[in-house]
């Protein structure tokens, strides 16, 4: 574990967390659905941020885990999505799993009604979820990416943002529709075709962590070997299989 043991995890204001995420997360964006942000401090300074919050479609995700409470509405606030995890290069090896473990302990202590955590790994631009696997998450799903598109100017944008409402002025530059030139009443698919936006090559992986070990995941769990079977391996933005990484680690 080494110096990772010295890391302190504290609750920090969203403003500070958002600025850090903008600077250090590969997407350069923070999640607006975040409800709690943790800061990871080493040698007195902030070197990492973990942001948890609500997923965009909570209704759809709720049935993934059986908490033992049958009434759907009573489960409404029983889980969180790990929206963003951003660490700088200063933190030593194993810091991420150490910080996640502390964050889960703090969630258990302060919000005991939170039973499980959902997270996504972006196997198009970032990684296949090495940290999640090392932290005891279950692999739930591997999907070919159909949601993140590369715009003609090189920006990577989730198709979802073109369906959201950003105030009344669709042409405003603060509105993704206006910024990228989507016409009023034009479908997102037609818009992508017209401007030549292409889906990024790669996969989206979904992971689940059970804080309350009595809960049961209601959907099939995938073995981690499925990542290589589907060719979904990625580490730090580069396509590389789990097997290759194991071999590299053994040689090192």
């Amino acid at each position: 574990m080494g110096r990772a043991k010295e890391i302190l995890v504290k609750v920090i204001p969203a403003k500070i967390a958002n600025e850090f995420v903008k600077k250090h997360h590969y997407s350069g964006k923070y999640a607006r659905t975040t409800t709690i942000s943790f800061g990871c401090f080493l040698d007195g300074k902030l070197h990492g941020v973990m942001q948890f919050g609500n997923p965009i479609n909570k209704e759809k995700v709720l049935p993934l885990v059986d908490t033992g409470i049958n009434e759907k509405n009573l489960n409404w606030n029983c889980f969180l999505e790990l929206n963003r995890m951003a660490f700088d290069e200063y933190l030593p090896k194993n810091s991420e799993s150490r910080c996640l473990s502390i964050a889960f302990k703090l969630i258990k202590k302060n919000a005991p009604h939170i039973k499980w955590i959902l997270s996504f790994s972006d196997g198009c631009q970032s990684g296949d979820g090495t940290i999640y696997r090392a932290s005891g998450f279950f692999l739930r799903q591997i999907n070919v990416n159909k949601s993140i598109y590369e715009m003609p100017n090189g920006d990577k944008v989730a198709s979802l943002v073109f369906g959201l409402k950003y105030g009344d002025d669709i042409t405003a530059k603060t509105n993704p529709n206006g910024r990228y030139g989507k016409r009023v009443n034009e479908s997102v698919g037609d818009f992508f075709k017209r401007v030549g936006a292409k889906p990024l090559q790669g996969f989206q992986l979904r992971y689940i962590y059970l804080i309350d070990k009595t809960c049961k995941i209601t959907v099939p769990i995938l073995p981690f070997s499925k990542i290589d079977e589907m060719g979904a391996g990625m580490y730090k933005g580069k396509k590389v299989s789990l097997q290759e990484r194991k071999l590299q680690a053994a040689e090192a």
């Binding site: 302190l8 995890v9 504290k10 609750v11 920090i12 204001p13 403003k15 500070i16 600025e19 850090f20 903008k22 600077k23 409800t35 709690i36 800061g39 401090f41 007195g44 300074k45 902030l46 759907k72 509405n73 009573l74 409404w76 606030n77 969180l80 703090l106 969630i107 202590k109 302060n110 919000a111 009604h113 939170i114 009443n185």
Partner: protein, 213 residues
């Protein structure tokens, strides 16, 4: 190199005007600062810029706040305290010095507010990286406690439908029409404040009523 320090002056600290917006700093350490002032006294002068007879704060905004709070809490704070006067040819230059020289030793800037403020002041920071936006606070400034919403789903929900443009147009027109009626004014909202939701509910209720006959 210019020596910008014109001299040490006594200032009525309660009359020092802030030059920066109130929310440009993410204040995290006012309690620590108050504790330090109580334990050690006022040991570091303010930095001020004088424009005619008005004294503006270049460094010490948080100390002014802390001193005001301490005075309010009954602490004996002198009316005048020391400040070193900074030479700046105008407000713009004073702001530049504030941002680039006295950048938060303890409190980080809020990046967004800072950028907006500099635009208003027409100040270009030559090296924004040198302005420590994120640094300057430690783990001791934060705690481990928090609350998250518990319990049931709120009694409201959003529904999404896919419609042909013509269908959507008809529905929008129907919603706009029913909003003009007397029935809409007195319709049951069940606490919902979304006017379109209330209008759509009323349309459906009228349709259900008609089906009875």
């Amino acid at each position: 190199m210019i020596d910008r320090i014109k001299g040490i002056i006594n200032v009525e600290w309660e009359k020092i005007k802030p030059i920066q917006p109130d929310d440009v700093k993410i204040n995290t350490n006012i309690n620590a600062l108050k504790k330090s002032l109580k334990n050690h006294g006022f040991s570091l002068p303010f930095a001020v810029w004088k424009d005619d007879n008005v004294i503006y704060c270049v460094d010490g905004h948080t100390r002014v706040k802390a001193l005001k709070e301490l005075k309010h809490e009954g602490e004996d704070v002198p009316d005048k305290l020391k400040a070193f006067e900074i030479e700046a040819k105008d407000r713009k230059e004073a702001v530049e010095i504030l941002v680039e020289v006295f950048n938060q030793k303890h409190n980080p800037f809020d990046n967004e507010v800072l950028i907006n403020w500099l635009e208003v002041e027409n100040v270009e920071v030559k090296d924004l990286e040198a302005v420590n936006i994120m640094g300057g606070f430690s783990a001791d400034d934060f705690g481990e406690d928090f609350n998250l919403p518990d319990g049931d789903k709120p009694p409201f929900q959003q529904m999404t439908f896919t419609l042909a443009d013509e269908q959507a147009e008809q529905i929008k027109n129907a919603i706009a029409d029913i909003k003009q009626t007397e029935e809409y004014k007195y319709a049951e909202t069940m606490g919902n404040e979304n006017s379109n939701g209330n209008a759509l509910y009323l349309i459906v209720m009228q349709w259900a009523e008609q089906r009875k006959y």
